[in-house]
Symmetry: C2
Subunit: 342 residues, 2 copies
């Protein structure tokens, strides 16, 4: 195993476990020739799953046994306390021990947050991790955070999200000075809640390229590189979008399968419809970064299929290459110095 970037996978996590993780691992190895993968979980089951894909001898895959699994609905605190040999915990431990450069899990979000925070520790100056993902927009993409790791975020937390999101956009998208917007319910300063108003004041005085308030539709209309919000709000916006996209896709399909004529048209239009579908395919946006940790952890959607999970592996790889935690660390240190001096 001489690959440059070593990524640990929580092989038992998510709604589908090994039946998705193993093909996803193989898919990722096809896409990236500079990674190796450590599958963490029940060794026998992993061996069996690899055998099914004729991949027991793949030199780029190694196995690390873990005897426990964190349930999708388990309490994060209990998982942290009682599941010290879970696939999730052991995969995170590998990052801590520098045996892996990043961890990817489709498991219980709360447990992943709590365990990563406990094992990997926060970057000094950051209070809590934030979940950040890429959303497609009319003319590009937007990084949005927090997506559910934090509720009742204070102004200071929103400010920290902005710092981390900006650094992520710089690193991942090679943007010099990413634009940052604060999610609110109106463009006027009189609207919004107290935390948002206070965060607006903090951001206006910051060295970030802060462009002010953005409303919900701004997520998709484009022109903002980073959008910051409380985790409750961000999670609802993300999930509502997933639901709407699903509904639209179903209704479009139904329109084209109503009768013989529309079915024929649908068949003829298939390449066009597929191209359209690919452009807004949520699987190509799967993978949320846990920002603020002293290590790289990526959360995949629990229901992700192998293509989607492979995308999350790709995100972890990019963050390793770009040394994202180190960059955020340096940036935060600099800003804290600035603030103390100011």
């Amino acid at each position: 195993m001489s690959a440059k970037y070593r990524i640990a996978l929580d092989a038992m996590g998510g709604d589908h476990g090994l039946s998705v993780i193993v093909p996803a691992a193989l898919e990722a190895l096809k896409q990236y020739n500079d990674i190796s993968l450590i599958l963490v979980g029940d060794e026998q089951k992993i061996q069996a799953a690899l055998a099914e894909h004729n991949s027991r001898d793949n030199q780029l895959i190694s196995i690390r046994h873990a005897s426990q699994v964190v349930g999708m609905d388990e309490s994060p605190a209990l998982a942290l306390k009682k599941k010290k040999d879970s696939s999730m915990r052991v995969a995170i431990d590998l990052v801590k021990q520098a045996d892996a450069d990043a961890v990817v899990s489709a498991g219980n979000t709360g447990a992943l947050m709590a365990t990563s925070r406990f094992v990997l520790r926060m970057i000094p100056g950051i209070d809590r991790p934030a979940l950040c993902t890429v959303m497609p927009s009319m003319n590009g993409q937007t990084h949005m955070l927090d997506l559910g790791a934090n509720v009742d975020s204070s102004a200071e937390h929103l400010y920290q999200f902005a710092l981390m999101g900006s650094e992520l956009a710089k690193a991942i998208d090679d943007i010099d000075n990413p634009t940052v917007g604060l999610l609110n319910i109106g463009a006027e300063a009189i609207k919004g809640n107290e935390q948002v108003k206070a965060a607006n004041a903090l951001l206006a005085e910051s060295p970030l390229n802060y462009i002010g308030y953005v409303e919900g539709d701004g997520i998709y209309l484009g022109g903002v590189d980073v959008i910051v919000c409380d985790g409750f709000v961000g999670n609802v916006a993300l999930k509502a979008s997933e639901g709407l996209a699903k509904m639209i896709s179903e209704k479009l399909k139904a329109s084209f399968t109503r009768n013989l004529l529309t079915k024929l048209l649908g068949l003829l239009s298939l390449p066009v419809l597929n191209r359209f579908r690919n452009e807004v395919d949520p699987r190509l946006y799967n993978g949320a970064s846990l920002l603020g940790l002293q290590g790289i952890a990526v959360k995949s959607h629990g229901g992700a299929d192998s293509l989607a999970f492979a995308n999350a592996i790709g995100i972890a790889r990019t963050e390793i290459i770009k040394k994202l935690p180190q960059r955020i660390n340096a940036q935060i240190a600099e800003l804290l110095d600035l603030r103390q001096a100011g």
Copy 2:
């Protein structure tokens, strides 16, 4: 003017003012043969706009002069204080004086809320008005509130929203016992913020048909008649949905206009695509009810076109027919008695 239901229109409100309101009024009169409309605003301008549509002598339209207009970005408090002869205020006054049965405005949301509350007064037992609208879902529709009238809603407020939304669904959709869900970021009781957890406890003990937590995608997946949330969250979810729907529509259009072949396919598929578009046409969902007032007030989207604004007039008409404020009033009184007795 012997029509049964009299609706006052804030004729100067919204992004487009009279150029949308007058054709919308004519459209609504075509759709409903039991309404008459009072156009409130600058009499001369209204006369001119009616003349443009050869409708100066329409017996179902009357004009009520108002000399002021509330700006879209004006402070609600200032509008309430300084614009006592605005088209919005005079239209609301007509409802108070029982010269109209409902008011519809596409104007400044904050000003409409504040002025309606001041003029029409709240139903006893309801602290603040809530904005409620219908969202399309996979197999029907969902009433969602609050959509931005309230931020930092307490558990008690969320409970009141649930009561009002349930009564609205009963009245408008003729459902006996509407299902009510509480928007949250996870299905497990451990997630969410304090207000949501406390509201969950209140609702679980209420006589409502409460089904528990619903995540963001639940808005569109169907099966819930009423979804309750804080106004900040609801507004972001609504606006994000608008943005996503717009992006998807643009990308679908772009897919079909990429080259000659796809254009031809698009042309052939036009009836199918139009049928699809009609099913998710946001204009057919335009019009949010201000619930909790002792009178009927409907807020149209500021950017609504005439078809969309006519839809908001239709909502006002339905609420008049169903005597919605009286029903909410009776229901709240009964529940308050129950609570005091309990």
